[in-house]
């Protein structure tokens, strides 16, 4: 294992090194060199991760957990020690491969995409900072480490969304993303404090091996109220989930994710689709045994996920901005993953198929969604707009991109044998086995919606007549650096399902749970056929509306003759506006104004008084210093008298 430990260090150190070297030394001077360094080091990192994963899964040791290294970071009281370490289990190894591989692809892609940007070096530095933080997050051995990297990920996301800081919309989107996720993270931190206080440890292994029984006795005093330790744990689990709620942009904290599309497309592709946003899902998956003992938290998670899934899919059907469609699609897919985890719980019993399905979907989704974003970036790079109105007819100009797009879209639609089919099918099955039939129906419905909006995008972008002057004039071509990663990513988008299915079913199992497990699971051999059938129908509808020879595309794109329902959906249910109303009226207008008033009058007033008073005293000292010798001599005598009476000597 020594070799693997060295490799495991490399996985982290390479991105960190890239960040330091590019950020401090190379970035400003030589963008080319920065790109080369970034690709080379991230390549080493990805290679190491793949080797480690290969070794791990090939060894007999496989589904067990191992800690490759661990250092004490901050010793709090007693056993409560914050450590930084590297946990190896199927979940973290899978994430390592995904993150490093996607990161490598995106780095290569960025060579093309950011070629003419004035701050290319900074971009590569920040991208590697993100990779490093994300890697630290997925291998965290404890909540504390996870939180540190969780925040680092948030910071790098903030920096990258606002990368084009000369654009006002990018700046406000980055602020929105940061503030909203920070808002959720504050609950996460509270949850960590609460749980670690009750449990006495940050370690995942300790927290995951708890059973509720010992916590029935005893209470926790939380200042305002006193609650039993068991309830405190449940509250803590909800708080912890709130962190993931914000990070994975679940309804109603979803609004930051579509707006985050203001960042450069490679950023959207790695951070806001493939890796960072699944951190919330990952968090729940990581602490799954803990969540199972915590009352109905999982049910809450399921409903949050299910609602987000449908809600986002509906919005995606109406959007015109290609990146926003993908963003809402990401939201919807994240909803799938969340609900799969939540659906595991059936009253007091647990069926773990959902957990496997969810982690599987993280894996497959990363590839095809990343690929789709990169394709979107490619299109945007050629037509210089995000708007589907202005695309169309790109099939002939960009044949490789076209084929890869088709593969990824078939994957996300769940058509066999593409990767998405396997994982999504398992999720739907998990909802069925969990006997959550409403949710099960929603997953099928969303499956149809997904297919519809993806093919809508596909037909509008690639088929039909070109609607863009540049495309008509033939100025469109495929950029090599941008096409290679797309083509490479098409392979796992196609095959990761078939290859991964065995792996996930064998290794991605939860071993020890302190709740009864449902062993006899309902079979549903008909389910794949239903799901595929729905997808095919949805695809056909999309074809009819947007690609068939009879389709009136101009009419389909015309925004004037819309029903009011369509407008509500198109405007994302006016959720942004609601947020702004709350923020403006309530927070800025109400709370902030009062706080400001208090600060202006009381705090500033006291401060101003203190300053004024000090200056007056200073004036006094200086006035006494008139240079008049008799006065000075007088002070000597007076001084003795002063200290005779006030010196507190026992005279």
């Amino acid at each position: 294992m020594i070799n693997d430990i060295t490799l495991s260090y490399l996985i982290f150190l390479c991105p960190l090194l890239t960040f330091v070297v590019n950020g401090l030394f190379v970035g400003n001077k030589n963008a080319k060199a920065a790109a080369v360094i970034a690709v080379a080091l991230n390549g080493i990192s990805a290679l190491s991760a793949i080797i480690v994963a290969f070794h791990y899964f090939a060894s007999d040791y496989a589904p067990q957990k191992a800690v490759l290294f661990e250092y004490t970071f901050i010793p709090f009281a007693g056993d409560l020690v914050a450590k930084i370490g590297m946990l190896v289990d199927p979940l973290s190894v899978m994430m390592l491969v995904v993150v490093t591989f996607i990161s490598l692809m995106v780095n290569i892609y960025s060579i093309g995409y950011m070629r003419e940007d004035r701050a290319e070096g900074r971009f590569f530095a920040l991208l590697s900072l993100f990779s490093f933080s994300m890697l630290g997050l997925v291998v965290a051995t404890n909540l504390f480490q996870m939180f540190i990297f969780w925040e680092l990920v948030g910071v790098s996301s903030y920096l990258l969304i606002g990368f084009w800081y000369h654009k006002n919309s990018a700046v406000s989107a980055s602020k929105q993303a940061f503030i909203l996720t920070r808002f959720a993270d504050s609950f996460f931190l509270l949850g960590i404090v609460l749980v670690s206080y009750v449990v006495g440890s940050f370690d995942f292994s300790t927290i995951n091996s708890l059973s509720m029984a010992p916590f029935k006795a005893g209470t926790v005093n939380m200042g305002l109220l006193e609650m039993s330790r068991a309830n405190a744990l449940i509250l803590g689990s909800v708080l912890i989930f709130t962190g993931g709620w914000g990070k994975s942009a679940m309804f109603p904290m979803h609004i930051w994710l579509p707006n985050a599309m203001e960042g450069p497309t490679p950023v959207s592709s790695i951070i806001h689709s493939a890796t960072m946003v699944v951190a919330g899902v990952y968090l729940v998956a990581r602490l799954f045994p803990f969540f199972t003992i915590c009352g109905d938290t999982l049910t809450l998670i399921m409903w949050v996920g299910a609602f987000t899934m449908v809600f986002a899919a509906v919005i995606a059907c109406t959007q015109k901005d290609i990146k926003r469609i993908l963003a809402y699609s990401t939201l919807s897919q994240l909803g799938y993953m969340m609900l799969a985890l939540g659906a595991c719980k059936i009253h007091m019993i647990v069926a773990t198929t959902g957990w496997t399905a969810s982690t599987f979907h993280i894996f497959t989704h990363a590839f095809f969604k990343c690929s789709l974003f990169l394709i979107a970036g490619s299109l945007i790079h050629q037509v210089h707009t995000n708007d589907l109105d202005a695309m169309g007819g790109l099939r002939k100009k960009m044949p490789v991109t076209y084929i890869c797009a088709l593969i990824s879209i078939l994957a996300i639609s769940g058509i066999p044998p593409f990767s998405g089919f396997f994982s999504k099918d398992e999720i739907i099955l998990a909802a069925f086995q969990g006997r959550h039939y409403v949710v099960f129906g929603l997953t099928l419905l969303t499956s149809g919606l997904t297919t519809f909006y993806m093919f809508r995008l596909f037909f509008l972008a690639f088929h039909g007549e070109p609607r863009h002057e540049g495309v008509k004039a033939g100025h469109v071509h495929e950029d090599l650096a941008m096409t290679i990663p797309i083509a490479v990513l098409a392979i796992p988008a196609l095959a990761s399902g078939i290859v991964g299915k065995k792996l996930f079913e064998e290794y991605f199992v939860i071993e020890k749970l302190h709740v009864p497990q449902l062993l006899k699971l309902a079979e549903a051999p008909w389910l794949p056929f239903v799901a595929v059938g729905i997808a095919v129908i949805a695809c056909a509808i999309a074809w009819l509306l947007y690609a068939s020879p009879k389709a009136k595309i101009q009419r389909a794109l015309d925004a004037t003759n819309r029903t009011s329902l369509y407008k509500v959906v198109y405007n994302k249910f006016y959720f942004d506006e609601m947020y702004y109303a709350v923020v403006r009226q309530f927070i800025f207008g109400g709370v902030a104004r009062v706080a400001r008033g208090f600060h202006d009058i009381v705090v500033e007033g006291l401060l101003a008084f203190a300053v004024w008073f000090t200056h007056k005293l200073g004036d006094l000292v200086r006035t006494a210093q008139a240079g008049y010798l008799p006065f000075y001599l007088g002070t000597l005598i007076v001084g003795v008298l002063i200290w005779r009476f006030f010196g507190q000597l026992p005279l």
Partner: protein, 480 residues
């Protein structure tokens, strides 16, 4: 053998006593342009400093030479502080004998000047070596009288003469207080010797003792610029030539604080707890008044006067602690203070050679002479006690010593005052770094000596701060 050992440890003291006579004597025999006295002075001071470093520390009670001359750890380290101050003061003064500065004419008679500094240093050495009241008092006077002369060294400068007049008049009154206090102490204890006084104090107190304490503190309060005896300081610091101001603010202050240390942890040790409130009051008022006075100054040396008044207050805080800890903290701080303060004075000296010594002359320094601006910032941040510079650790030890005996109120007050102090130190840095350059200012030129001294001192301030363990020998000296 033991007498030989005893002889060894006293060699630096004897050399220091002979040293001014040699330097002044040589001047009689050579041309007045000759550099010989200057060279010998350099060699002599450095040799004495090196010899001091050979005296082994950690010697417990200290060694007595004759019944009233004691060399202990505190004494040796204080000697080193005083020697550093003397050497740096001498180097700083050299330029003032070559041309005038800050609107004052050139000074003359460098050999005598250095001799006077050496006498003052010897006075400080006598104070830390004394074992009885008489020697103690003599040491204090030997340390003070050359200062009067040094203040008025520039005979053509009327301000200097005025300052010296004020200084000597007020100093005489303070000396009278001092003598009065000593006489009462003698009257109380019936002996001049410290150990016997200590026994008498331990045996019981009387109003006689407290009167003696009151007058002793008031008398030394003059030298240490405690409230309200500090009034001479701003005028004298301003009127005296710049190198003399520097020597005043370090050597004179170090001697005075050593005097208090010897007194409080020697004869008065049994009643330290009873005089602690008095010390705390003196410290608190002094540092507050010093900080207040420094707030709106425009002349650099006047500013430094108030700054050093405040610093005296900070040092007083350490006197509240247990003996070992207090001595360690004070010695360490005096080293740091000497280095930081001289660094500031060297910078002011360079400015004074070309411009007026005011805040306005610093404007745009960072753009014209970034090196000097950095040195200035280092010294100011160190004096203000900003980590990781030496001043921070110095102040930390001072406050720690005060806090270790539970005097939290005064420590908290001192820390709060540090914020006030930061304000005016930052104002100076602002002048140098933020304010736009003034085209009318004469450009600055550095001599080789100035440059090397400034670089060395800057590095010293940073290094002592970043690597505080370098000063371990100070702590080791007290088994701390």
């Amino acid at each position: 053998m033991s007498s030989l050992l005893n002889m060894n440890i006293i060699i630096p003291d004897v050399l220091l006593l002979l040293f001014p006579f040699i330097v002044i004597g040589i001047r009689l025999f050579c041309d007045f342009r000759s550099k010989l006295p200057w060279r010998i002075a350099n060699f002599g001071f450095i040799a004495i400093f090196v010899l001091l470093n050979f005296i082994p520390l950690a010697s417990g009670e200290g060694r007595f030479l004759i019944s009233n001359w004691k060399v202990d750890d505190f004494g040796v380290l204080m000697r080193e502080v005083l020697m550093i101050s003397a050497i740096l003061g001498m180097w700083l003064s050299k330029d003032y004998f070559e041309h005038g500065a800050d609107g004052k004419p050139q000074m003359h008679q460098i050999a005598e000047f250095i001799g006077a500094i050496a006498f003052a240093t010897f006075g400080g050495v006598t104070v830390v070596s004394a074992c009885d009241l008489l020697t103690f008092f003599l040491g204090l006077e030997i340390a003070t009288i050359p200062m009067y002369a040094l203040t008025a060294w520039n005979k053509k400068d009327q301000l200097g003469s005025e300052a010296a007049t004020k200084y000597i008049l007020m100093g005489s009154v303070a000396t009278a207080f001092e003598l009065f206090g000593f006489s009462y102490l003698y009257g109380f204890a019936g002996s001049l010797h410290f150990s016997e006084i200590q026994q008498a104090v331990a045996a019981g107190t009387s109003p006689l003792l407290w009167l003696a304490v009151l007058f002793l503190f008031c008398g030394i309060g003059f030298k240490l610029t405690l409230f309200p005896f500090y009034t001479w300081a701003p005028d004298v610091y301003e009127g005296a030539p710049t190198p003399v101001t520097a020597v005043l603010s370090v050597t004179s202050k170090a001697t005075a604080i050593a005097f208090l240390v010897v007194l409080v942890f020697g004869p008065l040790a049994p009643v330290q707890e009873q005089i602690a409130p008095f010390i705390a009051l003196l410290a608190g008022t002094t540092l507050f008044v010093g900080n207040l006075g420094a707030l709106k100054q425009s002349r650099l040396r006047r500013f430094m006067a108030y700054s050093s008044i405040a610093q005296a207050g900070y040092i007083m805080v350490a006197l509240l602690g247990p003996a070992t800890m207090a001595k360690t903290a004070i010695i360490y701080y005096l080293f740091v203070y000497a280095v930081s303060n001289y660094l500031a004075f060297f910078v002011f000296g360079i400015i004074g050679h070309h411009r007026e010594e005011t805040f306005a002359s610093l404007r745009g320094l960072s753009k014209q002479n970034p090196g000097i601006a950095i040195a200035l910032a280092i010294s100011m941040f160190s004096l203000a006690g900003i980590p990781p510079l030496a001043g921070f650790f110095g102040k930390f030890h001072l406050f720690f010593s005060g806090a270790s005996t539970g005097h939290y109120a005064i420590v908290a007050f001192a820390v709060l005052n540090n914020v006030l102090a930061l304000f005016y130190y930052l104002q100076l840095i602002k002048s140098a770094w933020v304010d736009e350059p003034d085209g009318h200012l004469t450009p600055l030129r550095l001599t080789k000596r100035q440059r090397s001294v400034i670089i060395t001192l800057s590095i010293a301030v940073v290094i002592i701060g970043v690597l505080p363990f370098l000063s371990n020998n100070i702590f080791a000296g007290f088994n701390y």
